[in-house]
Point group: none
Chain length 192, copies 4
C-alpha cells in the first residue's frame, strides 16, 4: 500500500468510525477523541483530514446523492417493478445497521445546514417521483383518485418512517424486509 492509498485508507477509517459513533451516541455526544480512538489513529490525525468536527458530514452523503435518482428517469413500460427494484437497490447500498441509520437521521437533524441539504434532496426526489406516478396513473397502475404529488409525499414519508422506526429498534431484523413490507402495503393503497 503506497502513500496515497494509505491516506485514503486513513480517511475511510476515520469516516467509518465517526459514522458508527454518531450512530451510537449522536453527533454532539461523540467526541473527536472517541472517533480517533476507534479509528486507531492519533487525535491530531483527525484534523489533518477534516478542518473541524462538523466537516465530517460533508462526506456522509446522507441519503445518497441525486446521482442514484437518475436511474428512475428513463423507465419505460410498467412502473411498479422498476420502483420496487430501485427501492431495493437504494436500501441495499444504504446504511445497513440500525446504528448507522440512526446516525444518518441524527446528522440530518443536527444542524440547519444538513437539514436543508436533506430537505432539498427529498424535494428533488419528490419532483422526480411525480412524473413517474402520473405515468403510472395513466397506465392504470395507480389510482387517479389521489393527486400524484400527495402520493409522492407519502412515498417519502413511508421511506422515512420505516428508516426512523427501524433505526429505533423496531420491526424486522433486516431493514430491507421491513421496507419492502411497508411499500407493499403502500402500493396496495394505490390500487385503482
Amino acid at each position: 500500500m503506497n502513500r496515497e492509498e494509505k491516506k485514503i485508507a486513513t480517511r475511510k477509517k476515520i469516516l467509518d468510525s465517526a459514522l458508527e459513533l454518531f450512530a451510537e451516541h449522536g453527533y454532539e455526544t461523540t467526541t473527536v477523541h472517541m472517533i480517533t480512538e476507534r479509528a486507531g489513529v492519533a487525535k491530531g490525525t483527525f484534523f489533518n483530514y477534516f478542518d473541524c468536527k462538523e466537516d465530517v458530514f460533508c462526506d456522509l452523503q446522507t441519503f445518497r446523492a441525486t446521482l442514484e435518482f437518475e436511474k428512475l428517469k428513463d423507465i419505460r413500460g410498467p412502473i411498479l417493478p422498476h420502483v420496487r427494484e430501485f427501492l431495493m437497490e437504494f436500501v441495499r447500498f444504504g446504511p445497513n445497521s440500525r446504528q448507522l441509520v440512526r446516525a444518518v437521521l441524527l446528522s440530518d437533524l443536527s444542524n440547519e445546514k444538513s437539514l436543508s441539504n436533506q430537505r432539498k434532496m427529498l424535494e428533488e426526489l419528490k419532483e422526480m417521483l411525480i412524473p413517474l406516478i402520473v405515468e403510472a396513473q395513466n397506465r392504470g397502475e395507480f389510482t387517479s383518485a389521489i393527486p400524484a404529488d400527495m402520493i409522492a409525499d407519502q412515498a417519502i414519508q413511508t421511506y422515512m418512517g420505516v428508516s426512523f422506526t427501524w433505526g429505533m429498534g423496531m420491526g424486522d431484523d433486516k431493514l430491507i424486509t421491513q421496507m419492502v413490507a411497508s411499500f407493499e402495503l403502500f402500493f396496495r393503497g394505490l390500487q385503482p
Copy 2:
C-alpha cells in the same frame, strides 16, 4: 397569584423555553443559560426545579404518555372511525410547530435513555393496536391478508414518517392535514 401558583408558572416558563430551544438548536447545543435567559429567571433557578438538564425530558412526555392510549382500549363497534378520531386528538394535542416536532424527534434520538423510553412507548402502542386491528380484521374492516402486527408496525411507521418529513419542512402547512391524508392512504391499503 399565590406562592404555589407562582411556582407552577415558573416551572412552566422553564419547560416551555427549554422545549422551544431544543426545537431550535437541539438538546446538546441548547445550554441551561439559554433556557433560563429565555425563561427570564436566574440560572440557579433551573436547578431548583430540575436535578439536571436531562430531567427536563421527564416532563416533555414526548409522544404523550400511555395514558392517552387508554382511550383506545374500550372501543366497541366499528374501529375505523374511532381510530381516525383518536389520531386527530393525538396530533392536535401534540407539538404543533415544525420546530417542536423536530425538537421532540431530536430529543428522542439524543440520548440512550430517551431512545429506549421512546422505543418502549412505541412497543406499548403497538401492543395496544394489535387487538384493535385483529378486531377490525374480524369485522371485515381490514384485510386479513396481512398479519396484524405488521399492520401495527406500519401504522407507527406512517405516523413517524409523517412527523419526520413534516418536521423537516415538507408537506402541508398543517401537520394534521398531512397526517390524515397519509392515514387515508394507509387505510385504503388495508381494505379487504
Copy 3:
C-alpha cells in the same frame, strides 16, 4: 466585603496576575491556567470576567491615557520645571517593576491593535509636546537650532529607550532615577 466588592476584587486579582505573568513570560507564553492559578481562582472564573484571553489587554491601559497629558496643556512661565515634574509623576504612577514594564512593552508589540493604540497615544503626546517646546524655545530655555518636532521625537525616544533597557534589567534599581538622569542629559543637549 459584599458581593459587588468581591467581584471587583476578583477581577483585580486576575488582572494583576495576568500583568505579572505577561511580564515574566510574555503574552503568548502565558496561559490562562497560569493566570488563574496565580490569582487563586478556577480557570472558568477567568472567562466569567473576560470573553477571551486577548481581552485582558483592554484593561491594561499601557502608558497611561491621554488624560494624564492634559496636565501639560496649561503651563505658564518657565517650561522645564513643569516638564521635570510631569515626568516624575508620570513615571511614579506607571508600572514600577522591571517585569511590569516589560509586560506593557510586550503587550504593545503583541498585536497590531495595541500597537496602533500605542502609536496613536505617542503621536498625541508628541502633538502636545511640540507647542511646549516651541514656547520653551521662544523663552530661550531650549535651543532653536533643532526643530521642535524633532526634539519631541527624541524626548519620546528617550522615554521609550529608558523604559526598554531598564525593563531588560539594565541601569539603576529605580526606574525614576534612571529616567531623570537620562532626561537631564537630554535637557543638556537642548541648551541654547
Copy 4:
C-alpha cells in the same frame, strides 16, 4: 548551483521567511508551517536545518554580534568621528524595515533565553563603550561632569529608544536618519 550552495540557499530561505514572519506576527504566533510555506519547502525540511523552532534565533544575531564591537577597540585620536561612523555602519547592516526591527525587539522579549542573551550583549557593549567615553572625556571631547558608565547607559537607551519608536512607525522614513539625529542631540548633551 552545486549541492553545498543549494543547502546554504535553502537555509537562507528558511531564515529569511522566519524573520519576516516573526516581524509580522511575533515569535509564538508564527508557526513552522507558515515559515516553510513562505520558504517554499516542506515542513520536515525545517527540522533538517534547525533542531527546534527556537534555534532560529541562534542565527538571527539580533543586535549583531560582539564581533562588530571589536572595531571600536583600537580607536586612536579623536573619538567622536569614529563613533559616528561605527553607528552608521551598525545601523546600515542591521534590520532595515520597521517590521524587522519590531521582530527583533519582539524576539528579544519573547523568551527568557533571548532576553538574557540580549542583556548580556548590551552589557558587553557597555563595557566596551566605557573606556572609549573615558578617553573622550580625557581628550575634552565629552563632559566629565557625568560619569562614563551613565553616559554609556544613555547611549544604549538612545539606541534602543530610536529602534523601538521607529519600529512602531514613528519618526523619519529612514532609520539611519532618525538615529543620527538622535545621536547628534545626544552628543550635544555631552559637550563639556
